[in-house]
Subunit: 334 residues, 2 copies
């Protein structure tokens, strides 16, 4: 059955069922009224919104609907994670062409609901409208552990070390593989599958962000546009500069294996790894390393010279990057 045959109200009922009744007792009103309602204690609340648009952020030829639902929520959870917060409630605005199969939209919601359950996020509302292409616009509301523990882009200070969670470059490598055609990577199916998943089903560092906040980290950003691009934003917001050492960048081992010399570029400029970059004094970084389940690697340092991100290679020479990362609308300038 097509979405146009089921109609808006039938679709909302179906999606509400998949999203499920919230087990969170603070939720007073979920999907189906004019607005969602939940009970909150006095706290510092966090909120973010982010959209995925067909043929800009994803292609239906290379992603499953389930992965798409997962990713749309994941990129928003990643923003809450980058503030050191706990994501709690999600609102989903869906734009859909009328000829999309209802079963596809159900899968999309299942992917979203799967990730929501993992982090105990309640899908409490949203709307669905007719649109020329598939668009997912999500808003996620959460809370900080304490007001003073919120991680910001503007709190980096000279002398801080720069660290990242996980490995870099895998998402951009997966995208490159998808664009060329995965059949080219038949020889190593495991690598192809891993890098594909890194791009299509990123895992938000929610637990890690909270550990950072708890252990005294003050500055963080999630890596959506690319390492150098996102670090530049953090530097600009903090009025500081940064030095990155390419030899220390944790390039994903499978990227190194498959992309050789290009792998460092993918790690520096490729977007959508959704790892967290944070800055702190070394002793704070060590505490975070001990507290989180994923690798944490020191990759550089914050300097006073404002707004400059210098990338230094293994010989101590500065590397010039052609393109810092991914920016929307960047056909002409940017």
């Amino acid at each position: 059955m097509k979405v146009s045959e089921l109609g808006e109200f039938g679709l909302i009922e179906l999606l509400a069922k998949i999203a499920g009744q919230s087990k969170d007792k603070s939720v007073l009103i979920g999907i189906g009224d004019d607005a969602a309602c939940w009970r909150t204690e006095a706290c510092a609340q966090l909120a973010t919104s982010d959209s995925l648009i067909q043929d800009v952020h994803f292609a239906l030829s290379t992603t499953t609907w389930r992965e798409l639902g997962w990713k749309a929520l994941a990129v928003n959870l990643s923003d809450i994670a980058a503030m050191g917060g706990l994501p709690q409630y999600a609102l989903v605005s869906l734009g859909l062409p009328g000829d999309i199969e209802v079963a596809s939209v159900a899968e999309l919601y299942e992917g979203m609901a799967e990730l929501a359950r993992l982090f105990e996020v309640s899908i409490v509302g949203g709307d669905s409208v007719d649109a020329p292409v598939v668009m997912l616009s999500l808003a996620v509301v959460g809370r900080a552990q304490k007001t003073q523990s919120v991680l910001t882009r503007s709190a980096a200070a000279p002398g801080d070390r720069i660290a990242v969670t996980g490995y870099l470059g895998a998402s951009a490598a997966g995208l490159a593989m998808l664009k060329k055609g995965l059949e080219l990577y038949e020889k190593d199916k495991e690598t192809a599958a891993t890098l594909r998943e890194a791009h299509l089903k990123p895992y938000p560092r929610v637990v890690e962000g909270q550990a950072m906040a708890r252990h005294g980290v003050k500055a963080a950003i999630d890596l959506s546009d690319g390492l150098v691009s996102d670090l530049s934003k953090l530097c600009k917001a903090s009025g500081v500069g940064a030095r990155l050492f390419t030899s220390q960048i944790p390039v994903h081992p499978m990227v190194r294996g498959s992309f050789g010399d290009d792998s460092i570029k993918l790690a520096l400029s490729g977007g959508e790894d959704y790892e967290l970059l944070f800055t702190a004094q070394p002793e704070v970084i060590y505490k975070v390393m001990e507290a989180v389940p994923c690798p944490v690697t020191v990759i550089g340092e914050i300097v006073a010279e404002p707004k400059m991100v210098k990338v230094i290679d293994e010989h101590g020479n500065e590397v010039k990057l052609e393109k810092e990362g991914w920016e929307h609308f960047a056909g002409g300038g940017g």
Copy 2:
């Protein structure tokens, strides 16, 4: 300058300036970080999201950018109003083709900021992405006055009277005029301008919704899809039925003047008036009438027979409606 020339980050900086620094001291972090952050007291929080898509919800040939920005926020404030709540924070996800003029996007934001200032709503975040058509997806978070005073769709009870704020049919009449071409209405420019504005710049009933909650109203919905359609949703959610009396419907006087016999249809089935429909005992409705600045009219009653909305004409006969209102994806079924 085109959006593609300015680039995403330049655009965000510009829009942040137009949105302005929030005067709300509870806002700790506004536009420019991974997520917005505000301090909240213990309360019942409300949240809603709603999207407007080019050529589905609006045409750039008939709306100004400023009106479009206003309306995108207004429809979300209307949802918070329908819960009897106070809107506080807005997140704006913009999808824009790269060839849109930056000046146009600035106007759009000015329209949004104008309405936000009026109701002391802080625009605290969002994102902007490349898209094939203009799409505005907003999320608004607010709060109820008290947990027990939230207005819901599910609280209507047999014996309640049904009332609406303001006048009905003006938005649908404005849309009909815009579709036919406003030049046809040269004879009465004031009517044309009023009805056009009713469609393009609806005024959310935020003050009225709060007065309802304060005076003991329990059930409400905002009129976005059409009077009969929205009343049907309220009846379904409450497990009740309703009788509407056409002779009591407050058809907008200018609609009556310009559309004659069709005007009652526009009032019953036309969408997007963004008035509030609520149900309560007569004495509660009288209190609301005295408390709010706009007209409040009793138009029918809630009955026990579930899920049926009967429309009764001035002779006591039931009127059959061809189409209850506006539903998305309703090309085929729905």
